[in-house]
């Protein structure tokens, strides 16, 4: 059962639960326990499972470790401390592991300097992918009492026959940065490793989770502790997330972000950042991309004459040495500013940060709090930060987001459930350690929270797949990765190579393929994802690093382009990995839009002519609207920009869409000769992803055509050839049709040929060990891994629609990428009229539609009937050739 202890223990009770030496050291070093520690010391000393959420600087590390060290110290004093692992600590980040190692060894050294008794000392060791072979050997002979590791290394350790012997005495299992694991497959992978560990050593252990900001907390707690058979394990949740004060502001670099030139906006952004840096001792700047990080560092140094020793970049593409160097400088307080994409977001120790500047929307309340929360290191300090945004949708979004953060409203995460690809890896791992009966293995897997609802049939399908059942008997010698006897209902080890397959291919992070983009004189501009390249045709204009380029041709991992300044991009940028706006936040934005529109209300009806005027002169916010804006954590420019954004939308079409009023706008894209149907559906991308495809399918069926979709957090666009006419009645019919069927069925049938399906299938095939990254000591190039995923997919489908990798791909798309239950609910409410809709026609897209057309994730829903599809293609090609 998940419990929420309401009152902290008294300071005395908390300290009393500690070993005397540990207590003395703690009291010498700190005045008193921090709020989370006043729960955790006692709870952990009672061997209870605990989830602690608290911001940086709240003594989180010691919340977990003080009681553990205390327990080990007691052992040591009783002369019972052996050379074995008592505690495993797992974090998603190697850099964090290094920190924890230092944060444990440092205090331990202090501690022992005060103890004159000849006792055995508590040892700490790190084991990650970086650990040298010699060190691993040493660890095998003399294991550390506290083992610091990553999810991937842990999965390898539990399969190492010799090392497992050292794990038999594990009493504590600590997971740090739980919020970075509970919502993705990496965490799912870890959850199975933990249950396997418990199975291997034959007893349970105390589970301790630490995380910054996450909701719902109960889901996180369940993820941490899992089940024992049908029984949910107990867990106490210690929530000290909000004990830190927040001071956030969203700002617009200029008053008029629509008409200001890029140069003016850039100037203002950099001046703002510069001012913040000068005002503070140490500033942390977050951008959303690595290239953005580089750009900011470059510009700050160039424009304001900072020395390179004052400002540094920190992101995943930089070498480990460079990153460690930057962290070291930060800790010593020698840097004025560090600029980072995501790498400094987690709890790496970087000393005291006075202020955080975030450029662009962090996309969720949790992330905003996480990032800005890095400032004001001590628990009692206020976290201070500015969020600088350069388009009006993001401005509205960030205003509402920061407002929600200050009001302590948190958006939610979900844990992927029953992922068959991750399960495949672990069944291969399990098969190596002993012979399993199906029932026994199935029961163990179900102890992990993400697999508690796994069906036996799905479990068996994975076992059968791994046994090579999908190829003929004569080929199974090559294909099978486990031994499986159907009649006996048992599986186990097969072949010598499989052990290596497990060790060399474990993990859940897909290989990203970056393709270099070069001009014809071989100047490097940046890189794009290979999938993005596959969508480019010669002549396409796309944006990279803020500039336009026209694509000419590609040659082995290089794309050649010509600069195309001022040209309209023909292909939207690829946002596949960008975080989606959460549903909760989207609804909050909807409410804000409604309130703003009601407040402005009176300017209605001045007509389009006034809009021309407004283009040049911005109105000053006034009346009720100003009151609303004044209550938001935003600056004066932002207030003006948001106010005018709403006024323009109202003047132009008389309506501001919100979560209870869906605006559907038909328009034409004159340059591209395309028909656009824009749905202002403000529900976040996971829901829009599903909704857009349902509508695209229905439009495609009605008009007998392919339909492209462009999906954003604030809505989606259906795009067809201009020859396809879509009138008001068609749109009405579309809503009826979309509401008529089971959303899951429509999507399953129609996402088959999409780019998303192909990409995700390839990742899943790799994670299921169908396409290996390393085999027989050879690293297999991504190119080779990729041999036409569409054809592999087709071949796999011929085996069965329930082939586990295919099933997992659909599951991942429908349940993780999309939010199907909510999308279906919205459709239902739309059909019933509970969500109103309004259909309008525009010559030029309305202001609220602009971002939806130019940005977003693009995909195409193709006609299902392939014969007709090819014929249509033929007809069009011939017509085009005739026209010359």
């Amino acid at each position: 059962m998940i419990q929420h202890p309401e009152k902290p223990f008294s300071i005395e009770e908390s300290l009393d639960s500690l070993n005397l030496f540990i207590r003395r050291w703690f009291e010498k070093r700190y005045k008193e326990p921090t709020p989370p520690q006043r729960y955790s010391f006692k709870l952990i000393s009672e061997k209870r499972n605990v989830l602690i959420t608290a911001p940086t600087g709240s003594g989180k590390t010691f919340s977990a470790f003080m009681s553990i060290l205390s327990d080990l110290m007691n052992l040591s004093l009783a002369n019972k401390l052996e050379d074995k692992v008592y505690c495993i600590y797992v974090s998603p980040l190697r850099a964090l592991n290094n920190d924890i190692y230092r944060n444990l060894t440092g205090p331990l050294a202090e501690l022992y300097s005060d103890i004159v008794l000849p006792i055995k000392r508590i040892s700490v060791g790190i084991r990650t992918g970086d650990t040298p072979q010699s060190e691993r050997q040493r660890m095998l002979k003399k294991p550390p009492n506290i083992l610091v590791t990553t999810p991937e290394s842990l999965a390898i350790l539990i399969n190492s026959e010799r090392f497992v012997e050292h794990l038999k005495g594990v009493r504590y299992f600590v997971v740090d940065e739980l919020h970075e694991l509970a919502n993705n497959k990496r965490g799912v992978h870890l959850s199975l490793s933990v249950e396997r560990l418990a199975g291997i050593i034959g007893h349970d252990f105390t589970r301790i989770g630490m995380g910054a900001t996450l909701a719902p907390l109960d889901e996180a707690a369940r993820f941490l502790v899992g089940y024992s058979g049908e029984e949910e394990r107990d867990c106490s949740v210690v929530d000290a997330t909000w004990d830190k004060k927040l001071d956030f502001v969203a700002m617009s670099p200029v008053r008029d972000i629509v008409n200001a030139s890029d140069a003016v906006i850039d100037n203002s952004i950099y001046r703002t950042i510069d001012a913040v840096i000068r005002k503070n001792r140490t500033t942390l700047v977050f951008t959303n991309t690595r290239s953005g990080t580089e750009r900011v560092v470059y510009n700050l140094i160039k424009r304001f004459k900072y020395g390179e020793e004052h400002i540094a970049a920190h992101h995943g593409s930089l070498s480990r040495e460079t990153r460690l160097g930057v962290e070291e400088l930060l800790k010593k307080g020698k840097l004025k500013a560090a600029v980072s994409s995501t790498s400094l977001e987690l709890g790496i120790d970087i000393g005291t940060i006075d202020n955080v500047v975030q450029i662009g929307s962090p996309k969720s309340v949790a992330r905003a709090v996480q990032r800005i929360g890095r400032s004001g290191h001590s628990f009692s300090d206020t976290a201070k930060g500015e969020v600088i945004v350069t388009n009006r949708d993001d401005l509205v979004e960030c205003s509402v987001m920061l407002d929600a953060a200050m009001k302590r409203h948190m958006d939610t995460f979900v844990t992927p459930k029953n992922a068959l690809d991750v399960l495949s890896q672990h069944i291969v791992g399990m098969s190596q350690t002993k012979k399993w009966t199906i029932d026994e293995a199935y029961a163990l897997v179900r102890n992990a929270y993400p697999y508690h609802t796994l069906t036996k049939a799905d479990f068996l399908s994975v076992v059968e797949y791994l046994a090579g059942k999908y190829v003929g008997l004569e080929s199974r010698r090559v294909y099978a990765k486990i031994w499986y006897d159907e009649r006996e209902g048992a599986f186990g080890r097969k072949g010598k190579l499989t052990k290596l397959i497990y060790f060399m291919n474990i993990g859940t992070i897909p290989d990203e393929v970056a393709v270099d983009v070069l001009t014809h004189d071989n100047k490097w501009i940046g890189s794009i994802e290979e999938e993005f390249l596959s969508r480019l045709k010669p002549g396409d204009v796309f944006v990279l690093g803020g500039k336009q380029y026209s694509f000419d041709y590609s040659r082995i991992m290089k794309a050649y382009v010509t600069p195309a300044p001022g040209q309209v991009p023909t292909i939207p940028p690829w946002y596949s990995e960008q975080l989606p706006l959460t549903y909760e936040l989207a609804i909050e934005i909807g409410r804000f839009r409604e309130r703003m529109a009601d407040a402005i209300g009176s300017v209605k009806g001045k007509g389009v002519k006034a809009l021309g005027l407004l283009d040049r002169s911005m109105l000053a916010p006034s009346g009720e609207a100003l009151k609303i804006l004044d209550a938001m954590p935003i600056d004066a420019n932002a207030k003006a920009a948001i106010f005018n954004y709403f006024v323009q939308q109202l003047l132009y079409v008389g309506q501001v869409p919100n979560d209870r009023m869906l605006l559907i706008e038909r328009t034409v894209d004159k340059e591209g000769g395309r028909t656009l149907v824009i749905f202002h559906s403000l529900y976040g991308r996971r829901i829009n992803d599903a909704l857009s495809r349902v509508f695209a399918v229905k439009l495609g069926e009605a008009a007998e055509t392919d339909v492209a979709v462009n999906i954003t957090d604030n809505g989606f666009v259906l795009i067809t050839d201009s020859s396809v006419k879509v009138n008001r009645k068609d749109v009405e019919a579309l809503i009826g049709a979309a509401g008529g069927d089971d959303v899951r069925v429509i999507l399953t049938e129609n996402i088959r040929k999409t780019e998303m399906m192909k990409r995700r299938f390839r990742y899943n095939a790799a994670r299921s060990f169908m396409i290996l990254r390393n085999y027989k000591g050879v690293r297999i190039s991504v190119r080779r891994q990729q041999i036409n995923s569409q054809l592999i997919l087709k071949a796999a489908e011929e085996i069965s629609r329930d082939f586990p990798i295919i099933k997992e791909t659909y599951r991942e798309i429908l349940d993780d990428v999309m939010d199907l239950p909510r999308a279906a609910q919205i459709l239902k409410r739309l059909v019933s009229g509970e969500i109103r809709h309004s259909i309008i026609e525009t010559d030029v897209p309305s202001p609220f539609a602009h971002m939806m057309i130019t940005f977003g994730e693009a995909d195409v829903i193709m006609m299902k009937d392939r014969r007709r599809h090819v014929r249509e293609l033929h007809k069009q090609v011939i017509a085009r050739i005739r026209k010359g």
């Binding site: 999908y470 190829v471 003929g472 004569e474 080929s475 090559v478 294909y479 596959s534 969508r535 045709k537 010669p538 002549g539 041709y553 292909i571 591209g672 000769g673 395309r674 392919d706 339909v707 492209a708 795009i719 067809t720 050839d721 060990f769 169908m770 396409i771 290996l772 990254r773 390393n774 085999y775 027989k776 050879v778 297999i780 080779r784 891994q785 041999i787 036409n788 569409q790 054809l791 592999i792 087709k794 071949a795 796999a796 011929e798 085996i799 082939f803 195409v860 193709m862 392939r866 014969r867 599809h869 090819v870 014929r871 293609l873 033929h874 069009q876 090609v877 011939i878 085009r880 050739i881």
Partner: protein, 250 residues
């Protein structure tokens, strides 16, 4: 689709039928492909041989042909005969002989067919190296230019031709195709698409360097002048000359 007297592309199939030889012609089967690739860590589901069998069964039932000519690359590996190739080749030959009742199996050796000689005897195949003039038709695989000067129709494989069409919406469609046209010396030539299931093909209208792939395209034949006969669903459609398909987007 009849492309010359008595020479017919079977609708919707990557297969040619020559009436006066009573033969069906196909190329680039790459049998054993999945097994070979599994050995390299990519465990593809088996689909190739099953599809080839289905298509050839269809071809024989439509034409009643008694002979098959494979214009090269019956198997996949360059350097040796992989066990999966051996097994699949045997299964394939048995299928042709006993299930389809074919009387003769002819193979023009391609670049992947080294070591196939040792399969010749047990499998009872008629074997030619690189090219063969059979009944006035010049079959050659294609990684070398044809040496023979005669032949009323040249038939080639090797390049796995396909065309790529992009549409304005950003979708890309790749279609396997036959290439049909005339050599500079006026002889008629037909390039066959690959039968292999996993070969999406070389996009003749979009990619460059076909001359490096097959020397016949260097100075004997202009690929732009050839017509693309694309395989659709149950039908084959003429998409016109490659020249017209360059840079096309709908």
């Amino acid at each position: 689709m009849e492309i010359a007297r008595g020479v017919e592309i079977l609708e919707g199939l990557p297969v040619l039928y020559i009436r006066d030889l009573s033969a069906i012609v196909c190329t680039d089967l790459h049998l054993g492909y999945e097994g070979v690739s599994a050995d390299r860590g990519v465990f593809l589901p088996k689909a190739n041989l099953r599809h080839i069998k289905e298509e050839l069964k269809d071809a024989i039932s439509r034409t009643g042909a008694e002979r098959i000519i494979v214009d090269g690359d019956i198997k996949n590996e360059f350097s040796h005969v992989h066990v999966e190739e051996f097994n699949e080749t045997r299964e394939f030959v048995d299928f042709l002989r006993y299930s389809l009742g074919l009387k003769a199996i002819t193979l023009i050796k391609g670049n992947h067919d080294n070591f196939i000689d040792r399969l010749k005897e047990p499998f009872g195949m008629e074997l030619y190296t690189q090219e063969a003039l059979i009944g006035g038709y010049l079959f050659f695989h294609g990684e070398e230019a044809p040496h023979e000067k005669g032949g009323k129709l040249l038939i080639m494989g090797h390049v796995h031709p396909s065309i790529a069409i992009y549409n304005r919406l950003g979708a890309k469609e790749k279609l396997k195709c036959f290439l049909h046209g005339r050599m500079k010396d006026k002889r008629e030539i037909l390039v066959l698409p690959a039968m292999n299931f996993f070969a999406a093909g070389f996009s003749v209208n979009a990619e460059r360097g076909i001359g490096r792939l097959a020397p016949v395209f260097r100075d004997m034949l202009d690929v732009d002048s050839m017509e693309a006969l694309c395989i659709g669903e149950g039908e084959t459609l003429n998409f016109g000359r490659i020249k017209g398909l360059r840079d096309i987007s709908l």
